[in-house]
């Protein structure tokens, strides 16, 4: 019965002002990001790997949850755009002293940060910050709880488009712990928004949220039928703490049933590509021969990740009120 709520990611002109989740973004906006990213891929290959688009701007990486990889890629992306970068690992400082998220953000606003890259263990944290900051500040969600990791979703579809340009004729399988995965949610929304006709999830019932089919996916519980004739396999990371407990009996049994091996890969189309957001658990969700095999595009994902993050930052910086 509620009042209609404006899309918190768009400014009053309908342009992207924060990147909080893939859900709620139109195909044209996603394509604009992907095409901008394509133009940045070459920058890394130049001798001077810098463009001046964010010169004089300050990008602040606030990581309430520790992460080296993601933070580093954002840092590289910002530096290649000539921004000044501040890294803040709040997980270890302010929060333990009782400071709230918004206190931390207010302090950084007072230091004139122009853009926040935020990671937090709770779903919705980036939305909370985006609602709080003024219209001249942009927020990028670098992962909030189980909710979204939109730059990962974007770099994944960037990679898919690179290898399989006709998105309207693809079958994609997302395999693993969908329940706890912000990556899975962002991938699914990115794929369906860009017109992929068939997105499957493959997982045991304990690792799928109730009503997961409402995300627009087909649900499979076994690899044999789920991987049949797919063009793209997106593996998800299984967190260590979930390997032995009430959700799964053991890593061994998980590998046996849902781990991607050469045998299982053979069920997919012969030219299927294999993706993983990293860091991988070799021998748990993916076999080394597959991870390092000819069909793996896991390292190109990392490379494209920087271009995609540069694209997001430059687009947001250009869309000011």
């Amino acid at each position: 019965m509620r009042k209609s709520v404006n899309n918190p990611q768009l400014n009053k002109h309908g342009e992207l002002t924060h990147l909080l989740s893939i859900e709620g973004l139109s195909a044209p906006i996603l394509k604009q990001i992907l095409e901008t990213a394509a133009s940045f891929v070459g920058v890394a290959e130049r001798e001077v790997k810098k463009v001046p688009l964010l010169r004089g701007k300050t990008v602040c990486n606030i990581f309430f949850e520790n992460s080296t990889r993601t933070r580093t890629t954002f840092e590289i992306a910002a530096k290649r755009l000539s921004a000044d970068v501040i890294n803040l690992n709040v997980g270890t400082s302010s929060q333990s002293k009782g400071e709230t998220i918004l206190d931390t953000v207010d302090n950084l606003i007072a230091m004139h940060a122009d853009m926040f890259v935020v990671r937090h263990a709770q779903s919705g944290a980036a939305h909370l910050i985006a609602r709080h900051v003024g219209s001249d500040i942009h927020v990028i969600n670098a992962g909030d709880g189980r909710h979204a990791h939109p730059t990962q979703g974007l770099l994944d579809v960037f990679t898919v488009r690179h290898y399989k340009p006709d998105m309207h004729n693809l079958r994609v399988a997302v395999v693993g712990d969908v329940l706890h995965s912000r990556v899975a949610r962002s991938e699914i929304h990115a794929l369906t928004t860009l017109g992929v006709p068939e997105v499957r999830v493959i997982a045991p019932k304990t690792l799928l949220p109730q009503e997961v089919e409402k995300l627009g996916v087909q649900v499979y519980h076994d690899m044999a039928s789920g991987l049949k004739d797919v063009d793209v396999i997106m593996m998800l990371r299984l967190q260590n703490e979930r390997m032995n407990g009430a959700l799964l009996p053991s890593a061994q049994e998980y590998f046996k049933t849902y781990g991607l091996t050469q045998d299982k890969l053979a069920l997919a189309k012969p030219d299927a590509i294999v993706m993983h957001p990293g860091p991988m658990n070799r021998g748990v969700e993916i076999d080394s021969t597959v991870a390092d095999g000819a069909q793996s595009v896991i390292l190109p994902q990392v490379t494209y990740g920087i271009a995609v993050r540069m694209a997001v930052m430059s687009i947001l910086a250009g869309n000011t009120e």
Partner: protein, 425 residues
């Protein structure tokens, strides 16, 4: 003090009255309806032209936050809010600090409320000490101190043997146990209905079966012990069906729903709106419609505000870390009227759920305007549309999902025991 309320539309659901009747009040009682008693000379006349005159509302759950949580709200602020909402009687849960598990605390609370003289309060005592679910409280003594029922508030009783014993003990003294049906294990860390919205937003879900499993346990224990139970804040379609069956079977059971759940669904969470972080969680449209149908067919006895004022900061956190609950005393009437409008119900039928019906759940005389009854009266303008804004709410808790929305119905006067305790300007 003699008061004459004239020209109003008197709606008294319990006595089946919906007619233009003047009401005459003297010495705190209703002394005349329609015609003035002989020799009645009013000290004050309330002109209720175009207004509805009904029994003061009875709210089965309002947290007053005292003792212990005065930074969230105080007895004075919340009882003023109640009066402004037309509420003249309310039950308050025992999850204060200290917990209401000793007669002295209950007496103190009742005494303080009496001094403020704004609302009749009916405390619920703790069912177990400290609400820890281990040892029984002195239920008999607590009832003598004024507790009308015994509750675990939102602390589910995980030990079914303790639940069994507490129902046996309560049944011994014919006391009513108030329980929210929620399996603590299935609800662990949950903040939203297990369904589409939780799946999308990546929030830990609370499945509908967390409620039905707990309810089924309670119903089985009721059959064994003969205890009287009031189920607080029903939220699912399946549990409405279970209560209906239990009532048909003749079990001494009653239940309520929160006014928020009469209108909102999981989709109202939108983009992580912490104001929609409620206990139990907002569920699906089908559940909401089943709650509405359950009210209509009498399966559900009452609508309560489930008033839970929190301080502003408590909602300024990521959804799962925000404090659950909504401020509701001043919205109870309006949300009930909105339901009546949405479902094209006659006003008397809708008002039953917030007057006579909760009165019988509490086992008190209120909730009607019979001759000789205590003059607890609400006079309201059913057609007046107002906007919910922080500055218009008297409650210290400004936390409501309805903030900024326009709702029908505004209280003009509230009378407690024949005295005006609230007057809208």
């Amino acid at each position: 003090m003699k008061i004459h309320i004239k020209n109003g539309r008197l709606i008294d659901p319990k006595n089946n009255i919906d007619a233009k009747h003047d009401v005459f009040i003297a010495a705190g009682k209703i002394v005349g309806l329609g015609n003035a008693p002989d020799g009645f000379v009013a000290n004050q006349i309330i002109d209720a032209s175009n207004l509805v005159v009904c029994p003061g509302l009875i709210d089965l759950s309002a947290r007053l936050r005292e003792p212990g949580f005065e930074y969230k709200a105080t007895l004075e602020s919340e009882l003023l809010a109640a009066a402004a909402g037309g509420v003249t009687s309310l039950a308050c849960p025992p999850d204060t600090d200290p917990v209401l598990d000793e007669p002295g605390l209950v007496e103190m609370l009742k005494h303080r409320a009496k001094l403020l003289n704004l609302v009749n309060i009916y405390p619920l005592g703790a069912l177990t000490r400290q609400l820890q679910g281990k040892n029984l409280t002195e239920m008999f003594e607590l009832s003598e101190a004024g507790c009308v029922g015994f509750s675990q508030a939102d602390n589910a009783l995980t030990d079914t043997q303790v639940l069994w014993n507490s129902l046996q003990y309560a049944a011994t003294f014919d006391l009513t146990v108030w329980l929210r049906a929620e399996d603590a294990h299935l609800a662990k860390n949950g903040v939203a209905h297990s369904g589409e919205v939780a799946a999308r937003l990546g929030l830990q879900g609370i499945p509908a079966c967390a409620e039905t499993i707990a309810l089924s346990t309670i119903l089985s224990l009721m059959r064994e012990t003969g205890a009287k139970v009031h189920i607080c804040r029903l939220s699912t379609l399946q549990s409405v069906a279970m209560i209906k069956q239990a009532k048909k079977e003749g079990l001494p059971i009653s239940c309520d729903i929160a006014s928020t759940h009469l209108h909102l669904t999981e989709h109202d969470i939108g983009y992580f709106d912490a104001q929609c972080h409620l206990r139990p969680p907002l569920r699906t449209e089908r559940d909401r419609d089943a709650l509405r149908a359950g009210l209509l067919d009498g399966t559900i006895d009452a609508i309560c505000s489930d008033h839970t004022p929190v301080d502003d900061d408590a909602k300024l956190s990521p959804f799962a870390e925000s404090e659950p609950g909504a401020s509701g005393l001043e919205l109870l009437l309006s949300l009930t009227l909105k339901w009546a409008l949405d479902n094209k119900l006659a006003l008397p039928q809708a008002l039953t759920s917030i007057t006579s019906s909760p009165a019988s759940v509490l086992g008190i005389d209120g909730g009607s305007l019979s001759l000789g009854a205590q003059a607890d009266v609400c006079v309201f303008d059913a057609d007046f549309v107002w906007k919910v804004e922080a500055k218009t709410l008297l409650s210290q808790g400004k936390n409501t999902p309805f903030m900024g929305l326009e709702l029908p119905g505004k209280v003009r006067w509230t009378l407690l025991n024949g005295q005006i305790v609230y007057q809208h300007h």
